[in-house]
Amino acid sequence: MPKYAMVIDQRRCIGCMACVVACKKENEVPPGDFRTRVVEKVEGEYPKLRMELRSELCNHCDNPPCVYNCPTGASYKNKETGMVLLKKYRCVGCKSCVAACPYDARYINEEKGFADKCTFCEHRIKEGKEPACVATCIGKSRIFGDLDDPKSAVSIALRENHAEVLLQSAGTKPRVYYIRKFGKPE
């Protein structure tokens, strides 16, 4: 049973947004909606500045509030792969999942009314490919793979680097890990 996860090495993210566009094209995301985003943070006072770049997406949590709160079982966690996915035909559009997600990862598909979000490109994984954002990441900042495989890129990345998750205190147990670096000129 592959335990899919993603590691984002923030040191290598250069904020190019290729992932945002590739994801939208791969998954036919309607205009105005996004499944992933890039945050650029700069702090300090001129000329002592520091920059952080961070891409965010659905964390496919092990403790997903969006799954618990879904009244129709449309939102579910695939026991085998660990991905949090959506059975669109069951979605009523009550928006509990959108409200329940602490990461604001979900949106309502404007045209059809169902809730939607990142699926770790499940359809590509089935074909042996990587998610679209990972495949196009110019900086090789996004790493995807099976945590149960000690030789996978994610396992290696997590062994060799300190990584954190977002909003740890929310108790959602995300599967997206961040190797942070708040860049800082000397």
Binding site: R37, V38, K41, V42, Y68, V92, G93, V98, A100, R106
Partner: protein
């Protein structure tokens, strides 16, 4: 700190906005019908049924419950993005989803309220049920009066409390994420039910009785609300942030400030008015002036409940963890 984010979804930025007046209205009306169901059960059971003797509300109140609930359900139905899929609520039970519990609960609550209404028809008025089968059914049901009242009471509590449980279950919305919220909602619902009962009942003893009930409920709310805000204030940073809209008086948070001020004014005034109503020696009949005062204080309580639902639904969507 300069933050630029590319790829924000309009629905969650600058803050969450998924639920609006339709949901707030449902919370209020649902709570009102639940509270009314509770008060109706009390009306019929109290003093072995003596309180309900000759009381117009004994018949009308149980009928109001499903009507008010229907109006509320209509509004929440409007909120669904995929209305044609609504039947999916009833093809599955999601044990961890308060919304699932609620949808099934409502499915049970509805028929109970109708059965209850039928059961509570007094002998003298049974002819109003035009059909013979209905009259016989009502007669048969009335033998289970007590049991039905208990079930009605229980379902009322459930419906009154589950919306609070639903909102409080969102770790992502710190304003709602409080253990007091379900109790607050239930108390507010019961208080609204009592206020409504005061308005629709015609006998002095019934009005005064429910005024006494309402005094305790309003008092409880006046304790719970400060405790709620205190609890949020002393919880995590996100929780403290979440209540700020209520206490910040500027252009951005104007309505929340107004709401808070109104609550600060409404509940004490209503409480004092009710206290005076109870203490006053009314004589045989209630004067028009006294009736007016009672209706006014009841309306104030209802307004308070409405304000709580609206401000909480909207302010909760301003709050966030990150």
């Amino acid at each position: 700190m300069e933050i630029t984010t590319t790829g924000l979804n309009a629905i969650t930025s600058p803050h969450l906005h998924v639920w609006d007046w339709r949901v707030s209205l449902y919370l209020f009306l649902g709570g009102l019908s639940a509270g009314l169901a509770i008060m109706t059960s009390i009306l019929h059971v109290r003093k072995g049924g003596n309180l309900a003797e000759g009381e117009r509300a004994a018949i009308s109140a149980p009928l109001y419950v499903p009507i008010i609930l229907s109006i509320g359900m209509f509004f929440i139905f409007l909120d669904l993005e995929r209305k044609l899929n609504v039947f999916w609520f009833y093809l599955t039970v999601q044990p961890l989803s308060p919304m699932s519990w609620g949808s099934w609960g409502l499915l049970v609550f509805y028929p109970i309220t109708v059965l209850y209404a039928l059961a509570m028809f007094p002998e003298s008025k049974r002819h109003l049920l035009m059909f013979r089968q209905l009259k016989e059914f009502s007669e048969w049901l009335s033998t289970y009066k007590l049991k039905l009242a208990a079930v009605n009471f229980g379902m009322g509590v459930f419906i009154g409390v589950y919306t609070g449980v639903l909102l409080s279950s969102f770790v992502a919305r710190p304003l709602w994420n409080s253990a007091i919220l379900p109790i607050l909602f239930l108390t507010s619902a019961m208080s609204a039910g009592a206020a409504f009962m005061i308005m629709i009942s015609n006998q002095k003893k019934v009005k005064l009785y429910f005024t006494k009930v309402d005094i305790w409920l309003v008092l409880a709310e006046m304790v719970m609300l400060p405790l709620f805000f205190y609890g949020q204030y002393t919880s995590s940073g996100a929780h403290r942030e979440s209540i700020m809209p209520f206490f910040t008086f500027n252009h951005e948070y104007f309505w929340y400030g107004i709401g808070m001020l109104l609550l600060l004014v409404i509940f004490p005034i209503a409480l004092v008015m009710k206290f005076l109503e109870v203490k006053e020696d009314h004589g045989e009949e209630l004067t028009a002036d006294a009736l007016f005062k009672m209706n006014l204080s009841a309306l104030m309580v209802l307004a308070g409940g409405l304000i709580i639902r609206f401000t909480f639904v909207y302010a909760g969507q301003l709050s966030h963890l990150s």
